[in-house]
C-alpha cells in the first residue's frame, strides 16, 4: 500500500481547482499524477508516485551516494588487505 514508483515528469498542467497535475512516465507507461505536494518539480524531474500523487522529487546526488557508499566500504577493505569478495559458505 505504501508502494511508490519513481517516474519522470513529461508535462505539467493545472486542474480547474488550480491544483498542478502532471503526466508521468514509468518506463514508458504514462499516467496522470497530482503534483500539489512537489511544487518544486519540473518537467524532466523524477518523482516518487503513490496512489496518483507525487510525494517527493528524487535527488540525483543523494541517489548516487547510496551507490557510492559501498565503493567507499570496498576501498577501506582493500586498504586493509581484505577485499569485499563474497563467497558462499
Amino acid at each position: 500500500m505504501c508502494l511508490g514508483i519513481p517516474g519522470k515528469i513529461i508535462s505539467i498542467e493545472d486542474n480547474p481547482l488550480g491544483v498542478p497535475m502532471g503526466k508521468v512516465s514509468f518506463g514508458g507507461i504514462i499516467k496522470e499524477a497530482c503534483l500539489a505536494f512537489t511544487p518544486e518539480a519540473q518537467v524532466g524531474d523524477y518523482v516518487i508516485v503513490h496512489v496518483g500523487f507525487a510525494l517527493s522529487r528524487l535527488d540525483e546526488e543523494e541517489a548516487q551516494q547510496t551507490l557510492e557508499a559501498l565503493a567507499e566500504l570496498e576501498e577501506l577493505a582493500e586498504e586493509q588487505g581484505e577485499p569485499l569478495t563474497y563467497t558462499l559458505q
Binding site: L17, I48, A69
Partner: protein, 377 residues
C-alpha cells in the same frame, strides 16, 4: 491498471534497476558479515520491505546471527474487522458506490469480504487513486460514493487532497471511511511490550518521505534502539540493515537515513500541512493488536460531512475472527508465518483465514508466494 514492482523487469526503470544489482548486493552481504559479532534481531516495519526481503531471498543471504522479524506495516492487515464489516454494510446499500484499493477486496470480514459483497450485487469498485473515487462522485450525482481510506502516513496526503477537493467543489455525494494509521505509535507499542526482542528498526521510507524522521528521534533515545529510514529495493534494504547493524555493534541508538534520495528530516511540508488541515489524530484499534492510543487519523470537525460513518447509519455489529488465525502475533513480529499451524494448509491466498495472507504487503502472503522458489535476481 496498477503499477507493480514487476514492471521494472520488463522496462528499463531509472532509480530501480541500479538498486537491484546482484553483485553489489553480495558485496553488501559480505560487509554485513564482517560487521556482525553477535546475535541481533531487527524489524522492518513496512510490508513492502518484507516482500522485497522474501522475493530476493535477502533473509537467507544474511549471517545466521541476524534475525529479521516482520512488522505491522500492512495497513490492510491492521484495519479492524469492525470497520471492514461497516464497509461491507455500506457497500451493500443500493445507493452506494463503494470504492477501495484492490488490496482490501479479499480481506475477510466477520462473514464475507468486499468481493463477495460485489458478487452479491453491491456496487464495489477497485480504484487506483482516491481521485478516481472523486471522479465517480462527479459522474454519478444520484449515488453516494464512499472511498475506503486505508493507509499509513504515505497515503494520508492523497486522501486529504480528495476530501479537500470535494469540499472545494461542494460535492455532496462523496465521503470516506477512514482507517488511517500512524507508524511511530506502533513502534512504541512494540518496544514497550513485555518480552520485546526487537533491537533495531528499518523505518518505512515512504512514510518518512511524507512525515520526515524527526518523530523517530525521541523513540530511538527513549528505548536506546537504532532506527534507519530505508528504501524498498534490495540494495536499499541491505544498506539499511548494514547501517542498523553497524549502529548496534558500535552502541549508537541513532536515527539515520538510508533513503536520502527521497527523504528529508523534516519530510514534505506541503503534504503535512494538508494532512493537518483535513485530519486529526485519534485513538485507533489495530486488527489483531488492539487499541493503540493516538495512532490513527479521523476527519476534522470542519470536514465531518465527508465522514461515511456519520453519513451512513451503520450500527455496531458483533464481530467474528477465525480462532485459528495468529495475524496479531505475526503483525507484531512475535511469530513468523511458518510457525502458524494453518499456514498453507487451512489458510491460503484462495481461502485466507486472515488479512496477512491476501494483502500484497502481508507477511503470510510473502512467505506463501516466495517461500518455495528460487529468488528473483
Amino acid at each position: 491498471m496498477s503499477l507493480s514492482p514487476t514492471l521494472s523487469s520488463r522496462f528499463a526503470m531509472k532509480y530501480i534497476d541500479e538498486y537491484r544489482d546482484e553483485t553489489t548486493a553480495l558485496r553488501y552481504v559480505e560487509a554485513i558479515r564482517r560487521t556482525v559479532t553477535r546475535p541481533w534481531t531487527l524489524m522492518e516495519i513496512c510490508g513492502g520491505q518484507t516482500h522485497t526481503i522474501l522475493k530476493f531471498g535477502l533473509d537467507r543471504m544474511l549471517p545466521a546471527d541476524v534475525t529479521l522479524v516482520h512488522g505491522p506495516g500492512c495497513p490492510v492487515c491492521v484495519t479492524p474487522v469492525e470497520l471492514l464489516d461497516k464497509a461491507i454494510a455500506m457497500a451493500s446499500r443500493p445507493e452506494a458506490i463503494f470504492c477501495s484499493f484492490g488490496d482490501m477486496l479479499r480481506v475477510p470480514g466477520s462473514h464475507q469480504d468486499l468481493l463477495m459483497t460485489k458478487a452479491g450485487g453491491g456496487d464495489v469498485r477497485m480504484v487506483y487513486s482516491p481521485l478516481d473515487a472523486l471522479k465517480l462522485a462527479q459522474q454519478n450525482s444520484d449515488r453516494e460514493v464512499v472511498f475506503f481510506a486505508v493507509g499509513f502516513e504515505t497515503t494520508a496526503p492523497a486522501n486529504a487532497m480528495a476530501v479537500w477537493q470535494a469540499w472545494q467543489m461542494g460535492l455532496r455525494n462523496f465521503s470516506i471511511l477512514s482507517a488511517h494509521v500512524l507508524v511511530p505509535p506502533a513502534i512504541e507499542a512494540i518496544l514497550s511490550a513485555p518480552g520485546n526482542e526487537v533491537q533495531g528498526f528499518l523505518a518505512p521510507g515512504h512514510v518518512c518521505t511524507v512525515m520526515g524522521y524527526w518523530e523517530y528521534e525521541p523513540i530511538a533515545e527513549r528505548y536506546q534502539v537504532p532506527i534507519v529510514v530505508t528504501g524498498f529495493e534490495p540494495l536499499d534494504i541491505l544498506q539499511g540493515l548494514y547501517m542498523t547493524l553497524k549502529a548496534l555493534e558500535e552502541g549508537r541508538p541513532d536515527v539515520e537515513n538510508q533513503y536520502s534520495r527521497s527523504v528529508q528530516r523534516e519530510g514534505n511540508a506541503q503534504a503535512q500541512q494538508l494532512i493537518r488541515q483535513v485530519f486529526e489524530v485519534t485513538d485507533r484499534a489495530w486488527r489483531g493488536i488492539g487499541v493503540i492510543p493516538q495512532s490513527g487519523l479521523r476527519l476534522q470537525e470542519e470536514y465531518a460531512d465527508f465522514d461515511a460513518e456519520r453519513r451512513f447509519d451503520v450500527a455496531e455489529m458483533a464481530v467474528e475472527e477465525s480462532p485459528e488465525c495468529i495475524a496479531g502475533l505475526i503483525l507484531q513480529g512475535r511469530k513468523k508465518p511458518l510457525e502458524c499451524p494453518a499456514f498453507g494448509i487451512r489458510c491460503t491466498p484462495e481461502h485466507p483465514l486472515g488479512a496477512p495472507m491476501v494483502s500484497s504487503e502481508g507477511a503470510c502472503a510473502a512467505y506463501y508466494r516466495y517461500g518455495q522458489r528460487t529468488t528473483d535476481w
